[in-house]
């Protein structure tokens, strides 16, 4: 069992004096009233990972004033807090003190999933009915006399009818939809088979017949419902996990009205022309122009540029950029719907490439299989009519064919493997949106990476800490801790937590740096041309005393953890790699050289990225796109399959098929390896299921199968398929972080 100490240090906690987490207004806005005077706030805390975390958080929240109750959900990594009063308790500060980063979780829905509830209830009813009917059928087939048999048949009929009506709805609805659109899916033979079998069984029960199909129909529904439920669970879990991550756009903004009053308005009520007060550390809510103030603005999520840009009055800000160093008054230029995001959404819709054309394996198999089953049943019926002209006999055997070939194991073959694969991926911190993403991931033949925030951390780090004396570094850290500028944070992080330097007259100059006075000397930390009075032949970030150079900081956007290893594994698997970045050529080349990726392009606009992916697809390739920014979103949508880190912009996460929550880039080769193994097992399962049908079909056609045997054989084949799916992951000993790619021929 892993443990929770030491708590992860993250940037928010370092920038001590500044506010942690969203504004109280935003928390209030997103909370919901659950009782009179009691409000509930849902937080998503992705770093909760063991029982000790649960206890620590619940205890800390329980000790807060006005907190009614707090409950941690370890499976969904969420905390539900109920509190009283007007203003929310210091939830984010408490979590930050414990070392957890938290995000507000979307309210609106209360975390319940009605579709899943309905499926599980249907499954439970089918399980109950099939167990009892099997038990009764068992006694019939072990030789009950005629009178007893009829009674038992009537009891079975009584159990089957409500089950068919209640549990089978999901299939009837789907079959009806398919038929209305002139298509045939797997649910059509299921529906036809179930109803014919039931009708014939009732007829036989009335006429005191010996062979009835109650057991087969109900257990068919039971096994098929398992497949449906698993499929649903997998999609839903990934969706909610991804939904709980940080939002890029705030939920609202502090608006200054014409009469000078200030009010926190939700985002959708903000319109062009409104004056918004934007504190340091907040994201720009809508496209806007700066009216007054100056600051450094981090645009990395929007454009891919790694260095923050100084901005002054008159400059335009895109929605989603982060105001770093100074408070700004801005004027909204567009509402929520018309902001930069909307433009990107339009690009994304235009771009959705590979996935809309992709047909899932199960659908492809069904497309061939369903007509074959219908044809086989029809031929059987006509054949027996021709042989002896006995309608009842012909119908019985035709139904036996329909039931025995019903795609029970086929219905389980694919979702079972995908659920197990999704569970394996979940264990290593990777969320899959749906099964089709896994199938597509197994087929990729090249990988396109974004740079900023994907190959790199997107958080600059101090590269030459060893070259600077500890004393100087501590002084610099004492200044840096008061700034939100990413360069200052990297210095503060490098000095550790022994920061107790009491500077006075501290002042942050947006676009330049931060200064302070200590023992009569003036210290400056920031741009060289501002901090130094005499040019010292150095650029970049420096630390100076009275204008004299003390230290020069080499600050770089560090490679993401595991980037080297991940790239090596991919290259060892002969996967062509490519970098497409919106950043300038110098930084792209530095990263490309460090990782050994020769194929790279810099300064690419969002439209250019998706065009590159579209060109790859057009040339018959199946590219995997890995990216995080807003500018990557159209490319993520255009790719055959896409991955995004959990730190990505929310629109990018929504566009991506897979999201990896841990920082390590190892997730990419791991996901590919698991997808390929899953793909192999899916194929094995399909073969197993089809072999069973191929054996059973001729036997059923010549009328040698009795209903009880059919039901048993059907269950047996389903169990075999499930057991085979569970083999997934056996070849990854101990879930090690270094996973070799499986040979690509497994996906051929």
């Amino acid at each position: 069992m892993s443990c929770c100490v030491p708590p992860p240090v993250f940037a928010e906690a370092i920038a001590g004096p500044q506010r942690v987490g969203p504004a109280a207004d935003e928390i209030l806005l997103s909370s919901r009233e659950v009782d009179k005077g009691v409000r509930q706030t849902d937080l998503s805390v992705p770093s909760i990972h063991c029982g000790a975390c649960v206890q620590a958080i619940e205890k800390a929240f329980g000790a807060l004033d006005r907190v009614e109750s707090a409950r941690v959900n370890l499976s969904t990594k969420r905390v539900a807090v109920r509190w009283k009063g007007e203003a929310p308790p210091p939830l984010f500060a408490t979590l930050a003190r414990l070392g957890y980063e938290a995000h507000l979780y979307e309210t609106g829905d209360d975390g319940k999933d009605p579709a899943l509830g309905a499926l599980v209830r249907a499954l439970a009813v089918a399980a109950f009915a099939s167990m009892n009917i099997m038990m009764l059928s068992g006694s019939v087939w072990s030789g009950a006399d005629a009178a007893t048999r009829d009674v038992l048949h009537w009891i079975c009929a009584g159990l089957t009818l409500p089950t068919l009506l209640y549990s089978g709805r999901v299939f009837y609805v789907s079959a009806w939809k398919a038929l209305r659109h002139g298509r045939a899916n797997m649910d059509v033979p299921i529906t036809v088979g179930v109803f014919l079998a039931f009708a014939l069984s009732v007829y036989d029960t009335i006429h005191s017949g010996t062979e009835v199909y109650y057991d087969a129909t109900v257990s068919l529904l039971f096994f098929l419902l398992i497949g449906r439920t698993l499929d649903h669970v997998m999609r839903e879990r990934a969706r909610t996990a991804v939904k709980g991550l940080a939002r890029l756009a705030p939920r609202g903004a502090l608006v200054e009205q014409a009469d000078g009053t200030r009010e926190y308005l939700p985002l959708r009520e903000i319109g062009p022309g409104m004056r918004i007060l934007l504190a340091a550390g907040e994201r720009v809510p809508v496209d806007a122009t700066i009216l007054s103030g100056s600051s450094d603005v981090d645009r990395s999520l929007v454009t891919g540029e790694s260095a923050p840009a100084p901005m002054e009055a008159g400059a335009r800000l895109e929605a989603g950029t982060l105001n770093l160093t100074g408070p700004l008054t801005i004027r909204a230029e567009a509402g929520e719907r018309e902001s930069t995001l909307a433009e990107l959404l339009r690009l994304m819709e235009a771009a959705s490439g590979g996935r809309s054309r992709y047909r899932r394996i199960a659908d492809r198999v069904a497309g061939v299989y369903a007509p074959v089953v219908h044809l086989a049943a029809l031929v059987t019926f006509l054949g027996w009519m021709a042989v002896n002209g006995d309608v009842h006999n012909a119908v019985t055997i035709a139904i036996a064919v329909l039931i025995i070939t019903c795609p029970c194991a086929l219905g389980l073959a694919v979702p079972m493997v995908q659920v197990v694969a999704a569970r394996r991926l979940f264990d290593v911190g990777i969320m899959v949106k749906d099964g089709s993403a896994l199938e597509r991931l197994a087929e990729i033949d090249c990988v396109v990476f974004d740079k900023t925030g994907t190959l790199t951390t997107g958080q600059p780090q101090l590269a030459n800490a060893e070259a600077i004396s500890a004393e100087t570094l501590a002084l610099a850290g004492g200044l840096a801790v008061h700034s939100r500028h990413p360069h200052a944070r990297s210095i503060a992080l490098a000095t550790g937590d022994t920061i107790a330097v009491a500077f006075t007259n501290m002042r942050e100059v947006p676009g330049a740096g931060i200064e302070g006075v200590l023992n009569g000397a003036q210290y400056r930390l920031g741009r060289a041309d501002w901090a130094l009075t005499r040019p010292a032949g150095t650029t970049g970030t420096v630390f100076a005393r009275d204008g004299d150079l003390l230290a020069h900081f080499d600050i770089r956007d560090a490679l993401r953890a595991g980037a080297r290893e991940a790239i090596q594994v991919l290259m060892a698997g002969d996967m062509p790699l490519e970098i497409v970045s919106g950043d300038e050529a110098v930084s792209v080349d530095a990263v490309g050289d460090a990782l050994g990726i020769a194929n790279r392009s810099a300064g690419v606009m969002p439209g250019g990225k998706s065009a590159r992916l579209a060109a790859l697809s057009a040339s018959g390739r199946r590219p995997l796109m890995v990216g995080d920014g807003l500018n990557d979103a159209p490319a993520l949508a255009a790719a055959y399959v896409s991955m995004a880190p959990g730190s990505a912009a929310d629109i990018g996460r929504n566009a991506a098929d897979l999201v990896f929550l841990r920082d390590n880039l190892d997730a990419v080769p791991q996901a590919i390896a698991i997808a390929r193994e899953a793909s192999r097992l899916v194929r094995q399962n399909l073969v197993l299921a089809l072999v069973y049908n191929a054996v059973a079909l001729p036997v059923a056609t010549i009328g040698l199968i009795n209903p009880f045997l059919a039901a048993v054989a059907m269950s047996a084949s389903s169990v075999v398929v499930v057991l085979n799916a569970l083999r997934l992951g056996w070849s990854f000993p101990g879930r090690s972080s270094h996973t070799a790619l499986l040979p690509a021929e497994a996906t051929a």
């Binding site: 370890l74 499976s75 209360d110 439970a124």
Partner: protein
């Protein structure tokens, strides 16, 4: 055989009871945090669970 017919309603009633119990646990939210439930059993403090009707 007919002497044992009384067993059939008994088994059906027991089965229905199990089904209803399962549906109740489902509605009661007992499957919403399976990982958490596995951990909570190890806590030393044995406090009664506060009334919590669903997260």
């Amino acid at each position: 055989m007919t002497d044992f017919f009384y067993l059939i309603p008994i088994s059906l009633i027991l089965g229905t009871g199990g089904l209803i119990l399962f549906l109740w646990t489902l509605r009661n939210g007992q499957y919403e945090d399976l990982d958490g439930a596995a951990e909570r059993i190890l806590y030393e403090e044995d406090e009664p669970r506060r009334d919590w009707d669903g997260i």
